[in-house]
Amino acid sequence: MTVALAFEQLLNGLQLGVMLFLMAAGLTLIFGVMGLINLAHGSLYMVGAFACAAVAAWTGSFWIGLVASLVAAAAAGAIVELVVIRRLYDRNHLDQVLATFALILIFSEGTRWLFGSFPLYLDIPPLLQGALTLPGGTEYPVYRLAIIAAGAVVAFGLHMLISRTRLGMRIRAGESDREMIGALGVDIRTLYTVVFALGAALAGFAGAMVGAIQSVQVGMGEPVLILAFVVIVIGGIGSIKGALLGALLVGVTDTMGRFLLPKLMVLFVPPAQAGMIGAAAASMLIYIVMAVILAVKPRGLFPAAHA
């Protein structure tokens, strides 16, 4: 193992982290800030990817597809909010769980109904193809750098939106006391629809961006859902900074775990089994990390000052 490889893996870890953040960004808004348990987040992610793939195939342009993913996911989000979520704000969190669980089923099967059962083709745009040589000599895919950039922009934008704007204040106020913010003259209902749609659009955006280097298929949102929750909770609910750092931590832990644990296991067990045991340990690693973090810091690493 060389230093260069270790460095590259670290970079891969960070990159995965930013990608996770991008996937979690919409959920940070809907769950972290609005306080809504949205299990259908992965479905919105899927909607974005499918919209992008379908439109890109039709028009031949990834970029038009990307716009379509935003529009489709935002529209899906707005409809979901208007028809379902709106009735659940003053209910128990558990009702949200059941409702959004039902939405997963509806979205998955609905998507299959529309697009068939086979994975769709979605490739990265020509502009972002190829690899770049980083200082130190490693080649790195341009598209992955683009994902890092997109993640950074989203993180910064969300942070500003939540903590610096009146809109952000109102969303947070709505989370703690919807009735009161309404009684002060804020149309919280419409605001929440808009914010939910925005969160959905972010999920869709991530679906399109990340979908281009993964498999665009029904069910693609499920692993994303769990990871996104993990990331947000490790970071501390309600804090964008926390979510970003949580995502980076998970990304690096996961990558380095996958990379190093099998090598480490060689020291203890025969090499034939080391790979498997190492891999098994690696797949449990982020959950172990999460449990340890929460056991020590029950409100996540960076509990939002305002949560």
């Binding site: 769950f31 348990i37 299990l39 379902v84 009735r87 659940l88 209910r91 128990n92 969190h93 558990l94 009702d95 769980v97 059941l98 409702a99 669980f101 039902a102 939405l103 997963i104 089923l105 509806i106 998955s108 099967e109 609905g110 109904w113 769990i226 929750f229 993990v230 909770v233 609910i237 498997m276 891999a279 098994a280 797949s283 449990m284 959950y287 172990i288 999460m290 449990a291 929460l294 056991a295 029950p298 409100r299 996540g300």
Partner: protein, 325 residues
């Protein structure tokens, strides 16, 4: 005692669950017995979770860990009994259900104690996620651990035995599960009405208040969590025997989610909520699955309709709001 509406509905539910398999048996339709057994077992698992979730407000997203643990206890003990290889410390496997149950319950309690002791340091959504984290660890462990089949799971070639009866007869096995379900529900009822149950429910509503009258919420919750794990673990052992098969999918987060869904569907914290939820869910899964390949779509629509229009789940719809005396 006057029969109030909820009690009446509960009695009807319990009677129906018994009547259907009896009728199916008489009509020579054993499959419906299997279906009813499945309902009974899932209801038992959910009753366990309901203790933590409905009474204690502890939304465990990791109860599949106990369900699967119970299942693997049944699978592993049976496999060792079959092969004759000794288990840990030279103990051998067994095909006796009651031994399996005891082991499943005790192990679930121990694991529940460990998971609960750490998880209960957190609260709210953090609790949901930390329990999920523990379950995921167990899940990934089971998937990649070869001796007991990994993802392929473990078959129990012949259903485990219970003294004096033939468990391979569907009706017999159903009756075993049914009795255990009733015992589980009875235990739930006793606990809910007891001092411990009062404290547990109060801790859900207002933790500070409970501490202020001198009760440690942590201990109450931990105890509740452990009891809950024990019941769900027992259900897992039965489930493995029903399918004669156990696999990591019993440990997956879908399973945890499904248990939660059963409870909400039936009515959170209600005595027969889990049974109502399980019956509804399994019945729809079965009926829709036979009708159309898009059954999950329609299942989704139905679940959605229940949340939106039946406040407090099925029992909430039928029996009105829960009262707390």
């Amino acid at each position: 005692m006057i029969l109030n509406r909820e009690t009446l509905i509960n009695l009807v539910l319990a009677a129906l669950l018994l009547a259907v398999p009896l009728a199916a048996n008489a009509l020579g339709q054993p499959f419906y017995i299997t279906l009813a057994t499945r309902i009974a077992i899932l209801a038992l698992a959910a009753t366990g979770l309901n203790l933590a979730l409905g009474l204690g407000g502890l939304v465990s997203f990791g109860h599949a860990a106990f369900f699967g643990l119970g299942g693997y206890v049944a699978g592993i003990l049976a496999a060792h009994a079959f092969s004759g290889d000794p288990l840990l410390f030279g103990l051998s496997g067994t095909k006796q259900m009651w031994v399996i149950w005891i082991v499943a319950v005790v192990l679930s309690a121990l694991v529940g104690l460990a998971i609960g002791a750490i998880s209960l340091r957190t609260s709210g959504v953090y609790f949901i996620m930390i329990t999920l984290a523990f379950a995921q660890m167990v899940y990934y462990f089971a998937i990649s651990w070869p001796p007991y089949g990994g993802e392929d799971g473990l078959s129990i070639l012949v259903r485990n035995q219970f003294p004096g009866v033939n468990t391979m007869r569907p009706l017999t096995f159903f009756l075993i599960c049914y009795v255990i379900l009733l015992l589980g529900v009875g235990l739930f009822a006793l606990i809910r009405a007891s001092r411990f149950g009062s404290a547990l429910q109060a801790a859900r509503q207002n933790e500070v208040r409970v501490a202020t009258v001198g009760i440690e919420p942590y201990r109450i919750r931990l105890t509740g969590f452990v009891i809950s794990a024990m019941i769900t673990g027992l259900a897992g052992a039965l489930f493995a025997d029903l399918n004669r098969f156990v696999s990591p999918s019993m440990l997956s987060w879908h399973m945890s989610g499904e248990l939660i869904v059963l409870i909400i569907l039936g009515g959170t914290g209600r005595l027969f909520g889990p049974l109502a939820g399980a019956a509804l869910y399994v019945a729809f899964e079965y009926a829709l699955g036979g009708l159309t390949e898009r059954w999950q779509f329609f299942l989704g629509l139905i679940l959605l309709a229940v949340v939106l229009f039946a406040r407090g789940g099925l029992l909430g719809l039928l029996a009105g709001k829960a009262r707390h005396g």
